[in-house]
């Protein structure tokens, strides 16, 4: 299926585990920059090469329905305190440019996940400044999984 670049005013939704969420007195205020690092190789998986997520605008409906659909399409077992972060594609690329790291945000429909999307170009050796910029400036919304259903 064809791979297309996601438009700058559209969005990429990524799953983050509870262990990478910053809460102040129980209220979610941000995620750790490490949430945007590529996962290192493990016994079960190889080195992650792209950040995976789903294409928000692929789904119809209002904002709540789109986030709910995103939750269903992300193929990871989610825990109630995990979160989904909605990021703007243009802002993602802009943070990459600040660090001279070209990032691409693409919609890559797969047979079992037609909304699959990815961020390409993240360095394998984590760039803390880039991850910090993504966390601060590209994330528009954070939704706890338990609040979505």
């Amino acid at each position: 299926m064809p791979v297309t670049n996601i438009r700058d005013n559209h969005h990429f939704v990524k799953h983050c585990k509870n262990k990478q969420v910053i809460r102040e007195n129980g209220i979610i205020i941000s995620v750790y920059p490490e949430a945007f690092e590529l996962r290192p190789p493990s016994a079960e998986f190889g080195q992650e090469k792209t950040l995976s997520g789903v294409y928000y605008e692929f789904f119809d409906g209002d904002a709540a329905q789109k986030i709910c659909a995103s939750c269903h399409f992300i193929q990871i077992s989610m825990k109630p305190k995990d979160v989904l972060v909605r990021m703007n594609a243009g802002l993602i690329k802009e943070q990459g440019r600040k660090r001279s790291i070209p990032l691409r945000v693409t919609h890559e429909p797969e047979i079992d996940c037609l909304a699959y999307a990815a961020i390409h170009g993240m360095p394998v050796k984590a760039d803390d400044e880039l991850c910090g910029l993504l966390k601060s400036l590209a994330v528009l919304e954070i939704c706890e999984v338990s609040s979505i259903f």
Partner: protein
């Protein structure tokens, strides 16, 4: 994990040694859990595997075979090891602070919320965080997390700054800072340094102009 307690733990009445500083912090349920896990481990080691050798006179040799612990046991062991680490620094941490750390650890590391395939927090990384608090005398952390590798992540938030730290291996801290000005302008910084230097760097952001004053939290 169990060796650190150096005690016997019958299921009904648990005895604890060397956990004095955190003894009061462990709730009854945790004590019973430690006792039952210990009893289980003791049983595992006593049920020695027997191997019959095909010699003229049959002999039996025995060996201890490490058994894979369940997800729940590994999680509990990790949590207990972190809490025991707190006990090593108990004299520098108030009871309130210890309870706040324990609550955050319980919130983070539990069967309902932890992904089984993830690396558990590294005790050394956690101890580096405790050392940092003691070096800097700044106890107002906001949130605790864990990286892919099992490094401890900590965030501090003030009115103008969101500081995050990744307590990486070998006494190294990777940090990021998000600073907001009064007129809404935002700046960012990131760095990597030793634990000792980070204790100064952190105060630069968290307590500007007051870097040497003690913390009264």
């Amino acid at each position: 994990m169990i060796g650190a307690f150096q005690g016997t733990f019958p299921a009904s009445s648990a005895n604890f040694v060397n956990i004095g500083p955190i003894g009061d912090d462990l709730i009854t349920k945790q004590r019973e859990k430690i006792a039952s896990l210990s009893a289980k481990l003791q049983q595992q080691f006593s049920e020695q595997q027997q191997i019959l050798l095909g010699s003229r006179t049959p002999q039996t040799i025995t060996r201890l075979a490490p058994q894979e612990s369940s997800f729940e046991e590994r999680l509990f062991g990790s949590l207990a090891s972190l809490k025991i680490a707190v006990s090593q620094y108990a004299m520098h941490l108030s009871s309130d602070e210890r309870h706040r750390i324990f609550e955050q650890l319980d919130f983070l590391i539990n069967v309902d919320d932890w992904h089984e395939e993830d690396n558990l927090p590294k005790p050394q990384s956690f101890m580096d965080f405790l050392k940092l608090m003691i070096y800097s005398k700044y106890f107002r952390w906001t949130s605790i997390g864990v990286s892919h590798e099992g490094n401890l992540l900590v965030a501090w938030k003030t009115d103008r700054v969101l500081l995050t730290a990744n307590f990486a291996d070998q006494d190294t801290v990777r940090w990021t800072a998000q600073i907001s000005s009064e007129n809404g302008e935002m700046g960012h910084a990131a760095g990597k340094c030793s634990l000792r230097l980070f204790s100064e760097q952190a105060l630069f952001y968290l307590r500007p102009g007051d870097r040497n004053a003690g913390n009264k939290y």
